[in-house]
Amino acid sequence: MDKTVDKNPKVAEKVSPAETILKEPGILREPVAAPLVTYPIEVVIPKARQQTPAVGQRATRLDGRLHGLGQTGYIDDMTFPGMLYAKIRRAGVASARIKSIDTKEAEAMPGVMAVLTGKDVPNNSFGPSIKDQPVLAYERVFHAGDGVVAIAAVTEQIAAEACEKVKIEYELFTPVLDPLESLKLETPGVHAPSANIYQKKFIKKGDIEKGFAMSDHIVEGHFTTQMVEHVPLEPHATIAMWDANGRLTVYSTLGRITLGRADLASTLGIPISRVRIVATIVGGNFGGKNEITTEPVLALLSKKTGRPVKSVFTRPDEFIASTTRHPLIMDYKTGVTKDGRIQARKLRLVLDGGAYCSWSETTLSKACILSAGPYNIENLYAEAYVVYTNKTMTGAMRGFGAPQVCFAYESHMDDIATLLNMDPLDIRLINAFHEGSISPTGQKLQSVVVKESLLRAAERFGWNGKGSTAGGSKVLPKEITSGTTVRV
């Protein structure tokens, strides 16, 4: 949303949308359609696409030529006759009760065609495992990105302007922001009466105390990671429209249309067979487009107006109203013999689950299962918790908790190597899984090549022993490798 346009007093005047367009041709974001360009149809097909056997070929992508010519149709390129644009007014406060919503002034604006609030949504909750997320906030706000009012208008600018004219009164509550605070029983529940710890996982293998007793050294580590966004090039975008038979078609950037259709039908209270979802080529997902976001809002605005309705997230929308990566707080304790064999590992993971569950359950499970690393550890105890906070919801993101725990277990591994004055490669090779290793959950592993990958990477890199150099690296003095470690 262009702020300078938004505050233009001329737009705020009571003029019809058509006049606004005439007066300010440069400022309005007019419907965009892919330009009519013709290309020669005689396409040269690369050899790798024509060869058999097909597997193993460096075949170019089906969509590569379209991307290269700028011909790929994304949702923002699509337009339909009479199409409206939707904008959502977000709470901007992390925890509150909604005392009142006054939409009169917004509704009176020329060009505004429909206004929607939480009470208009037939089944106002959804979620992949726990249905704790409202389509639009109803009575309560759980994080600052919660949508409170949605508006459809003839232009995106009018919809945005109308959103600003909605008056919302809140009773503010103290937000729960720290996951470790949330973990404490005395902390008020974000979704009271539900507990803040909404999922737990445990892995127990062998005898942890016996393992520590057999160890020569005990090493501890504390690690934390931050919240990050997927930042796909194409933001969340949707167009919804109904036909005269009461059947809904939605064009969406969803990466999971089967689940999306079921969730959409459920929030609207209509049979799944009345919903068609078409996903275009998606401009990046990385886990952020695995559940519905604005689809029900647009479907309801389209139903109210009888016209197609489009919405494309702005970059700030993408940050505050879509899912993000779980921050983790990780405590590791490892018992190791003086020759570098891990005897026991105990660890705890606390995941900041944000305001809604989303894909937290599977993130928690994967983080917990993978948390000990690709190593043979006979005695293991892992516990993992995910807690609600009044922050942006965390959900699926490339790796589901694995990049966070890998940062912890591999930093910890180098700390152990430093303590024992061992090469980081050697300590990994001593402990790494082999074909038939038993995983922390007791699964016999097949096609295991972690040692091969270590050795191949080391060879390719030119990793030649402890304290040595690669590519002109500075040789580390012994006192640094085995000496003081500053923890931040």
Partner: protein
């Protein structure tokens, strides 16, 4: 002074959902010129998965990648799919597509066997032809076979199939069970340069050795690894959503939320580890998410190797690294000059 360091990290990562059923279905049709259509409910999200699926179908039918048209991502016309998530498309949707193509192939074998005077199990699909094993001169073009099936025996070649990874639920107390069908493994090694006067970290080079089972398309594996590493560099050094004391984001834009650009990308050397998983389509597993898993870990180990400070909270911003270097200097005994 700029100091160089190197660090490694290895990892394991599962393919598909944790325990929960995550099936995919697929439909394959073969036309009378020997070209095929695959219907799949998965969505292309930029990773090239539809090309991978075309290659799998083509391999099973003995035709080329370009002979397979892929129709995807429309709930009215394509079958159920759990979607582009959990690095599962090549393994799960790929298995479904292969099984559907196999059904088409077996239908053709039944049609062709009497024409070539052999049993169906003596046939194979190879280089656009249905061939008698061991007697390559006895063959029929796959298009002629499809045409015969359609116009003579009245059985147009079409097959559908589903696949779901075999899992066993985890015990809630001990976590014991078989949560995933298979796993992949990888190692990344980074070389970094740390400016000990500013704390700025530059990642110079990353060698990435990844297992994905059989690489269906090595070029797309390389693309995934390079993309994953760029995401890992941002996670390691730059990206962070910040909140004010009231729980409101203060940097929800690309001016203040710093992403790596092409200028921040290290030299990436991709190495694909030879492997074959019998449960995957033609031995393939997957590679999407794992490519970013070890990146931050190896960069942080390289920072420690370069300047001797262990950063334990991501991201390792220049400010954080600088403060750690200062703290380490202050903690060291002062050298008294003579």
């Amino acid at each position: 002074m700029k100091k160089r360091g190197r660090g490694m990290a290895c990892m394991w990562y599962p393919i598909g959902f944790t325990v929960a059923a995550n099936p995919s279905s697929a439909v394959v049709k073969l036309d009378e010129d020997g070209t095929a259509t695959l219907l799949t409910g998965t969505v292309e999200t930029g990773q090239g998965s539809l090309t991978i699926l075309a290659q799998i179908v083509a391999q099973e039918l003995g035709i080329s990648t370009d002979d397979v048209n892929v129709v995807s991502a429309d709930t009215d016309s394509t079958p159920m799919d759990t979607g582009a998530i959990a690095s599962r498309t090549t393994y799960v949707t790929g298995n479904a597509a292969r099984l559907a193509a196999e059904k088409v192939k077996l239908m053709l074998f039944d049609v062709v066997a009497p024409l070539l005077n052999v049993k169906p199990n003596q046939l194979e699909a190879k280089d656009h032809r249905i061939v008698v094993k061991g007697f390559p001169q006895r063959n029929m073009h796959i298009g002629d076979a499809a045409n015969h099936a359609r116009t003579v025996t009245g059985e147009p070649p079409i097959g559908s199939a589903s696949f779901n990874p075999a899992t066993v639920a985890l015990d809630p107390e001990t976590g014991q069970g078989k949560p995933f069908g298979t796993y992949v493994y990888a190692t990344q090694i980074a070389e970094v340069e740390v400016d000990d006067e500013t704390g700025d970290v530059e990642v110079l080079r990353i060698v990435a050795s990844h297992d994905c089972g059989t690489p269906i398309n090595p070029m797309l594996v390389e693309g995934q690894v390079e993309g994953g590493i760029s995401m890992g560099v941002g996670f390691a050094l730059q990206e962070e959503i910040l909140f004010n004391a009231n729980g409101v984001q203060i940097n929800p834009n690309l001016t203040n939320y710093i992403m790596p650009t092409s200028l921040d990308m290290p030299e990436v050397e991709v190495d694909i580890v030879d492997n074959y998983d019998p449960s995957g389509p033609f031995g393939a597993k997957g590679v999407g998410e794992p490519t970013l898993v070890p990146t931050a870990a190896c960069i942080l180990n390289a920072i420690y190797n370069a300047v001797g400070v262990r950063i334990t909270s991501l991201p390792a911003t220049a400010e954080k690294v600088f403060n750690a270097i200062q703290a380490k200097r202050n903690a060291e005994p002062k050298q008294i000059t003579a």
